[in-house]
């Protein structure tokens, strides 16, 4: 039973972390404009996040410390502060996007204006963080979020030309409508959507919340190797659905309602219901994760007491910080900014901040003082180093591409 619950952590982090509003939107946009010619980025992202989440889980299980605690100790206060500032701002952006996503999904379900759902989403997210146990939170959001598999079902129902989809994926090329600049810009965006830093902070802090020990490392590996590829598979189905229905129709995705259209076409109102349930659960789960991540990163840097395993009175600064983050996110949303736009920017900025997050994890995972005999093996280090190079290239290229392509227009 404990095994099953442990796997649920992986699945939540995969679905909530992998398929959040960022993945939903980015994959749908990419599918509607580039078909499956960026599918390889999702694969690269899945392998990357598996690698780094595994490392950070290992660090947490072996040393009993969560990622950010170790970042400050190992890299010093200055680097830690830079890391904190960048991660916190991006986390804040992501929280805003996720809460917007919850409200958009509820609007799609009910027709009631999105703005009215925002306060509701805020209160709901906060209540769960305030009162609900960590393990229950994960299990429920993870299990309900699995209904996003409706995208895969819809894909089959649409009876696509599998050959052409496969050739798009296996022989990537820039479609005639788009330019190489936008192609690579969206490659970076997709990469950032897959490898968002908050997943890693959440995963390792969650490992401490659940008191993982060395004997849980096997479980951690199962979580990662089962959960994240599942998330990747869902991402690809989202892109494929958009590629099959929206790309030929000349529709490029800019709203959540457009993301739903292929699913509606495939399976009607039942499929739509499953989709909306899945989207609400996944974005809700992601909102929980990102809010908790902001709390974790702040608390771990400054040395506050943290954790959902503590009652709020015993982790006062942690909870106050999260309340402030939620309020700030909602304040941004009430200015009327389009949450889809916030989402699109948040994934690119996530890509820019990736080196700040992953380099420290790589360093610590190799440090025998924290890891004892569980330091990285040779093979892991080689792959991790390759990924570090990829991450650096993506991070450096992101801003020039954003400016040159007008953020992918």
């Amino acid at each position: 039973m404990k095994r099953l619950l442990g796997v649920a952590l992986g699945i939540l982090t995969a679905i909530g972390g992998f398929v959040d509003i960022g993945d939903l939107v980015t994959n749908a946009v990419v599918g509607s404009r580039f078909g499956l010619s960026l599918a390889w980025v999702v694969l690269v992202g899945v392998v990357g996040i598996c690698l780094f989440a595994n490392m950070s889980g290992r660090v947490a299980a072996v040393s009993g410390r969560a990622t950010f605690e170790v970042i400050r100790e190992r890299m010093g206060a200055r680097a830690g502060l830079a890391n904190l500032a960048a991660s916190f701002l991006i986390n804040l952006m992501t929280v805003t996007a996720e809460i917007g996503g919850i409200a958009l999904a509820l609007q799609l379900a009910s027709g009631v204006s999105y703005m009215l759902w925002v306060p509701f989403a805020l209160i709901a997210v906060w209540l769960v963080i305030w009162r609900v146990k960590f393990s229950i939170m994960e299990n429920v959001a993870g299990l309900v979020g699995l209904s996003l598999v409706v995208f895969a079902v819809a894909l089959f129902l649409l009876k696509p030309d599998w050959g052409s989809l496969a050739s798009q994926a296996l022989h990537p090329s820039v479609p005639s409508e788009e330019g190489p600049g936008t192609y690579w810009y969206y490659a970076i965006a997709l990469f950032g959507a897959a490898m968002t830093p908050y997943e890693v902070f959440f995963f390792s802090s969650g490992a401490v919340e659940e008191r993982w020990k060395v004997k849980d490392l096997v479980q951690s590996r199962i979580n990662v190797l089962l959960g994240f590829p599942l998330g990747g598979f869902l991402s690809l189905s989202i892109a494929a659905c958009a590629a099959v229905v929206l790309l030929p129709a000349g529709i490029s995705v800019t709203t959540l309602s457009q993301v739903a259209l292929p699913v509606i076409q495939a399976g009607g109102q039942l499929a739509l219901a499953a989709l909306l349930l899945g989207v609400v659960a996944a974005t809700f789960g992601a909102a929980l994760e990102t809010t908790l991540s902001s709390g974790y990163t702040l608390a771990q840097f400054f040395g506050w007491s943290w954790g959902k395993f503590r009652r709020p009175a015993e982790a006062a600064r942690f909870h106050v910080a999260m309340i402030v983050v939620l309020l700030a996110g909602v304040a941004v949303l009430t200015t009327g900014v389009d949450p889809i736009l916030v989402t699109e920017y948040s994934v690119v900025f996530s890509a820019i901040a990736l080196p700040l997050t992953y380099l420290p994890i790589l360093i610590v995972a190799n440090d025998p003082q924290y890891m004892g005999k569980h330091v990285n093996g040779r093979a892991v280090n080689i792959v991790a180093f390759i990924y570090l190079v990829i991450i650096l290239v993506a991070s450096v290229a992101a801003i020039p591409l954003m400016i040159a392509t007008g953020a992918g227009a």
């Binding site: 009910s110 529709i251 800019t254 959540l256 259209l261």
Partner: protein, 161 residues
């Protein structure tokens, strides 16, 4: 330590500068400035068509379809705003812009009709007395299709398609 920091700051500044240069270059062709709003409008009107089709097939709920129409209306608004801010340099561009604005307003009108029609209940298209599906939706569908064709013609003429 400070030296490498200075180098880093210089490198970052160079990157941003480079990006600024690139974006400056990207803005010169004028047809491109029409391209953005035109594509947005095309996408919006086609989305609305799809939503109406799905509603006629009763695959889409009223809530989902009206939300889609609402979103597309907002998209049209932003495309129209962009177009209005477009500074035409030649007489040709001016007339192109004006025709496009005219089509945009047609599209927006049809989207409004679509939203109202989609909001009304349908239990069977073609049946019932005051149900939207019976009369309004197919009519709106026709409106949207005509508007789409007009836009596509204009885009081909302008060399955007």
């Amino acid at each position: 330590m400070t030296r490498s920091r200075k180098l880093l700051a210089a490198a970052l500044a160079a990157l941003v500068f480079l990006g600024g240069l690139l974006s400056g270059c990207a803005q010169s062709p004028s047809a491109d400035s029409l391209k953005g709003p035109a594509k947005e409008a095309a996408s919006a009107v086609r989305t609305a068509s799809l939503a109406v089709d799905l509603r006629l097939q009763e695959r889409a709920t009223a809530a989902a379809a009206t939300t889609t129409a609402d979103d597309m209306l907002k998209g049209m608004q932003s495309a129209t705003d962009q177009l209005e801010h477009f500074g035409a340099k030649t007489q040709d561009e001016q007339s192109l812009r004006d025709s496009m604005l005219a089509i945009f307003s047609t599209i927006s009108r049809s989207l409004l009709h679509a939203r109202d029609a989609l909001a009304a209940p349908t239990s069977a298209p073609g049946g019932g007395t005051d149900l939207a599906g019976s009369v309004q939706l197919p009519a709106v569908q026709g409106e949207l299709r005509t508007a789409t064709e007009q836009l596509e013609e204009l885009m081909t003429k302008a060399g955007i398609q």
